[in-house]
């Protein structure tokens, strides 16, 4: 149970509202419609969860555990996480910061808040980051000429298993003749 809720926390933190509340719904000025995190256009659709007994920061446990930097398969904890990302080339501490587990880690070693996880993803997926910033990749909701919501990468892709999962299609159109009503 605990393991699963931590995972949920990580994923939802990734979609936290970086612009905060009180954002105006004014239409964009000319030239403002490109991606700009300080712009009022930058909003996310999913608010971070309230911390509760089942949802808590990673540091609650990891603050007292000495980081083991050896690359290995985790057996005691986090069994619910099946890492199917980059075919065995990655492991936990490539993306999670070893010293401060409430943050992520760039390849440079710089720590990164979960709200800026797109910078981490963009290290490998540069062309996706470019497309996402210009509005070509990813889902946007809201107003085409005003306040809109972007989803961070983790809003659609599970970072541990990023491939999009199949869906059940909605009903097909009726065939002509309308035999069935």
């Amino acid at each position: 149970m605990r393991r699963r809720t931590i995972l949920i926390l990580l994923m939802t933190l990734g979609t936290a509202d970086a612009a905060g509340s009180g954002v105006s719904s004014l239409a964009p000025a000319a030239g403002e419609s490109r991606f700009d995190q300080s712009s009022p256009l930058y909003r996310s659709a999913i608010a971070p969860p309230d911390l509760s007994e089942d949802i808590f920061p990673c540091s609650n446990c990891h603050a007292e555990i000495k980081p083991d930097l050896r690359r290995r398969e985790l057996r005691d904890e986090h069994g619910a996480i099946a890492l199917r990302h980059a075919a065995g080339q990655l492991w936990c501490l490539d993306c999670h910061h070893a010293e401060n587990r409430d943050t992520l880690r760039l390849a440079t070693g710089e720590s990164l808040p979960f709200t800026e996880s797109y910078r981490l993803c963009g290290q490998c997926h540069g062309e996706k980051l470019r497309d996402w910033q210009s509005g070509i990749h990813g889902r946007r909701t809201g107003h085409w000429n005003g306040d809109k919501q972007y989803l961070l990468c983790t809003g659609c892709h599970n970072p541990h298993d990023p491939q999009f999962k199949p869906l059940t299609p909605m009903p097909p159109p009726e065939r002509p003749g309308r035999a069935v009503h």
Partner: protein, 308 residues
């Protein structure tokens, strides 16, 4: 010879012309609404073309439509006639390498645009194509219904009105009931349409749909935010189609079309073609886009692409 004969019998011709005239008038009178029907039917019958309505006339028309709709569905509705925004020309992008054929867009469109449930009208049709055949409509299938999508070896291509800059449909209309608005939306005046369906025959994309019967829309599912040229319930015998959600998009700020917001994979893109930094222009500059049936020179504003 013929002239001579005709001029020699002027009385006969005059009499026949008179008879034909009175016959035509008689038939014309018979085509009028019966005197006992309500005033709104008479008002609708003598309503001018949408683009020739004065401001006062338009207000009366909108009020009449709201009233008849409220009487029919028992709900308060708003029928707008919001004009096009200055400096806006709408464009649409669809990423075929993302689309998984789940039809969320189809059903979001039905709900948003008050499409008839029986007989069923869908403005969006998702066709399933074969990867090894490419975009070849001879091998298209739109009744596909597997337990899960996407299916191995297939890709999906949603088709709706392509909002052409040189539409074949508007030129086919004998009464100019359909035209291109300044913001690029191909609009239909449902009250002016005579139901001849020439536009449907002319459209190479199957984007237009006909109301064969009275639309059945559950009152609880009626979208009360309506536009005259958009999602107000359509009468029997007229043609309808995608309007880029005119009731949502033609506002300041304007919402994304319902299909864009419904797409779970973010394959659908919408914006202003005249905004050089907008997502549609970015898309045109950075992706290799194509339009359907380019050889027909209909110049759609609906661009398909395969993103990496």
């Amino acid at each position: 010879m013929a002239d001579k004969r005709r001029s020699s019998r002027p009385g006969v011709n005059l009499a026949r012309r008179k008879a034909l005239k009175s016959l035509a008038t008689g038939i014309g009178v018979m085509a009028l609404p019966a005197p006992q029907v309500s005033a709104s039917v008479w008002a609708a019958f003598f309503q001018k073309h949408f683009r020739e309505l004065s401001r006062d006339d338009l207000e009366r028309v909108l009020a009449r439509l709201e009233k008849t709709c409220q009487e029919e569905y028992g709900r308060s509705v708003t029928v707008k006639a919001t004009p096009p925004l200055d400096g806006v020309r709408f464009g649409y992008g669809l990423d075929l390498s993302r689309c998984i054929g789940c039809r969320r867009c189809v059903h979001a469109c039905v709900a948003e645009n008050n499409q008839s449930r029986h007989p069923q009208i869908h403005w969006i049709r998702v066709v399933r194509l074969q990867k090894d055949k490419g975009i070849d409509f001879d091998h298209a299938e739109h009744y596909y219904d597997p337990p899960q999508v996407p299916e191995e070896g297939h890709f999906y291509l949603p088709v709706q009105c392509q909002q052409c800059d040189r539409p074949a449909c508007t030129r086919a209309c004998p009464v100019q009931a359909t035209w291109v608005e300044p913001d690029g939306i191909v609009a239909i005046d449902y009250n002016w349409c005579i139901g001849c369906r020439y536009c449907m025959a002319a459209c190479p994309y199957g984007g237009r749909h006909f109301n064969w019967e009275k639309a059945v829309i559950p009152a609880g599912e009626l979208n009360p935010d309506m536009h005259y040229l958009g999602n107000r319930p359509r009468p029997v015998g007229v043609v309808e189609k995608c309007t880029f959600c005119i009731q949502r998009t033609r506002e300041q700020p304007g919402r994304y079309p319902a299909c864009v917001e419904a797409c779970p994979v973010g394959a659908r893109k919408f914006g202003n073609l005249l905004d050089p930094k907008g997502e549609i222009r970015q898309l045109l500059e950075h992706q290799r886009v194509f339009v359907l049936k380019q050889e027909l020179n209909t110049q759609p504003k609906f661009f398909y692409f395969f993103a990496t």
